[in-house]
């Protein structure tokens, strides 16, 4: 009993620390990647004792700057809700990571420990529910600011997120039909098989259309640039206009956390999670014959590494997308959501059902 509690606490702390560190350094990755894409160098001046490390200390400098800013709230704002809104936003996104499996089961001190905080049997629904609850952060922040522009921004955000919630849900129905489980760890285990004997049985190969719909809807859910109508920090005024300092920082941090959550969900659901192609519990078994024995701990390390590399790849892809496309107009966002993604999601469900029926 006591051991279980310790294990859970350790897993929660490790997951939280890892996710927050990744989000922290994602700000650095975003700056550097955008700079390299635009033939620039990017932030490289933050240094500790003259040690620059390619500007790797920049996130800490930013954090210190935000910590020491005035904790400002307008007099006309509703204080309590104004305080709570960034916390809502942050909490509901970060709590999503508990359902994501980082690796397979390890054996330690005679126990079987799955590298996942909780193995919910309805994890897909939990994730969707938590991402939906994130809307409250946006709505409450705009509402509590008592600023008309912030309120309109938060309404835009709520409309966008609710619209894309439909497409996000529809895109996952086909996946759940193929891998008959709602538990993320079960879905990852199903993806360990092979198609036609050589292709890893990943969600992307079984549900390509579903992945496109999921990824686009998820991108819209992160509220980052092609879909940043709710924020619109450069031209239109968005929902966190009345926030400054660390509270604003929390909203920005939530965006990066959402990038990580979307990346890890795309990895878990469509790219095999911690599965390495052709790697079984005993070692590699290549489709062209032959194999490679590997110790259990090597297999575990490879799998955790594979999960993290896939997540990093999707973070990279999202930042690339964010620095490539300009913002969609509001009507274009709604058109893409309701006229393209929702019909595509329905078509995907119908096609999946047809294939499953005639198979």
């Amino acid at each position: 009993m006591f051991g279980d509690v310790v294990i859970i606490v350790v897993k929660v702390v490790l997951t939280l620390v890892w996710t927050l560190l990744l989000a922290l350094f994602l700000t650095w990755v975003e700056r550097k990647e955008s700079a390299v894409m635009q033939d620039r160098i990017g932030a490289n001046r933050a240094s500790v004792f003259g040690l620059r490390m390619f500007g790797l200390f920049q996130p800490f400098a930013d954090a210190i700057k935000m910590l020491f800013k005035e904790d400002f709230a307008p007099t006309f704002a509703q204080r309590t809700l104004h305080w709570l809104a960034p916390a809502f936003s942050f909490f509901f996104v970060s709590v999503t990571m508990v359902a994501v499996p980082f690796g397979d089961t390890i054996r330690l001190f005679g126990r079987r420990i799955p590298l996942q905080v909780v193995d919910l049997n309805a994890a897909v629904l939990f994730v969707l529910a938590m991402l939906s609850l994130g809307i409250y952060g946006i709505l409450v922040s705009g509402w509590a600011s008592s600023n008309r522009f912030a309120l309109i921004g938060s309404l835009r955000g709520a409309a966008q997120l609710i619209s894309y919630e439909v497409a996000l849900g529809l895109s996952l129905v086909g996946l759940v039909m193929v891998f008959p489980s709602l538990s993320l760890s079960r879905i990852v285990e199903f993806q360990g098989g092979h198609l036609f004997g050589f292709l890893p049985k990943w969600g992307i190969f079984l549900q390509p259309l579903g992945f496109v719909v999921f990824y686009l809807a998820g991108m819209a859910g992160t509220k980052r640039v092609p879909f940043d109508c709710p924020e619109g920090e450069s031209e239109i005024i968005g929902f966190y206009t009345e926030y400054g300092g660390l509270k604003f920082g929390l909203f920005m941090f939530t965006d990066f956390l959402e990038v990580i959550v979307l990346a890890s969900l795309a990895t878990t659901l469509f790219f095999g999670g911690w599965q390495v192609p052709w790697l079984g519990d005993g070692g590699f078994a290549f489709p062209w014959g032959g194999g490679l024995k590997a110790a259990p701990w090597v297999v575990t390390v490879l799998r955790v590494l594979a999960f993290n590399l896939k997540v990093l790849f999707f973070c990279w892809l999202q930042i690339l997308t964010r620095w490539t496309y300009p913002r969609f107009r509001y009507d274009q966002i709604m058109d893409l959501g309701w006229k393209v993604l929702v019909p595509l999601g329905v078509v995907n469900i119908l096609a999946t059902g047809l294939i499953l029926a005639v198979r």
């Binding site: 990647e33 700079a35 390299v36 894409m37 635009q38 033939d39 620039r40 160098i41 690339l320 997308t321 620095w323 490539t324 496309y325 393209v340």
Partner: protein
């Protein structure tokens, strides 16, 4: 439907351009990190305080008064620069010069850099070519406003 495909095609082209820039630049950055000299750099950035680009000859920087042979400023206090200045940032107080050949000299020639917009009209207006903006001094930031009132008549 056709328009939709066109949108998708253009989006793919855009992503191809930005990712090409990313990978090409990243290759050069990586090669240079490991000490390989490449002809091209990964970025066009000039690392300003350490590396400085040569200013163009017609670049307008901090003002100066061209001196006569004896070192005193060649300004004759005609007030043309004060008149033409759109920011009204030049203050000239005229004084008599002991030399009968010279009618007036500036007792005080102040350019208020808080207001100056570096348009160069004063340089063009000057009949004796006394004020120039060719010092090449572009680091003018200070921590107080009075420090930005440049006395040009005193060296």
């Amino acid at each position: 439907m056709v328009k939709g495909w066109r949108v998708v095609r253009e989006m793919v082209r855009g992503a191809a351009i930005t990712s090409r820039h990313f990978f090409v630049n990243m290759t050069f950055h990586t090669l240079r990190l490991f000490g390989l000299r490449t002809r091209r750099k990964g970025a066009v950035t000039i690392q300003y305080p350490e590396v400085q680009k040569a200013l163009s000859p017609r670049h307008r920087s901090l003002h100066r008064l061209r001196p006569r042979e004896d070192g005193r400023p060649s300004c004759v206090s005609c007030m043309l620069c004060v008149t033409v200045c759109p920011s009204e940032c030049i203050t000239v107080e005229a004084a008599e010069d002991p030399d009968p050949e010279i009618q007036k000299i500036p007792a005080k020639f102040v350019v208020d850099l808080n207001r100056c917009c570096f348009c160069g009209f004063c340089v063009e207006a000057c009949p004796v070519d006394a004020i120039r903006m060719d010092t090449g001094e572009i680091r003018l930031a200070t921590s107080s406003r009075p420090a930005l009132e440049a006395r040009l008549d005193k060296p």
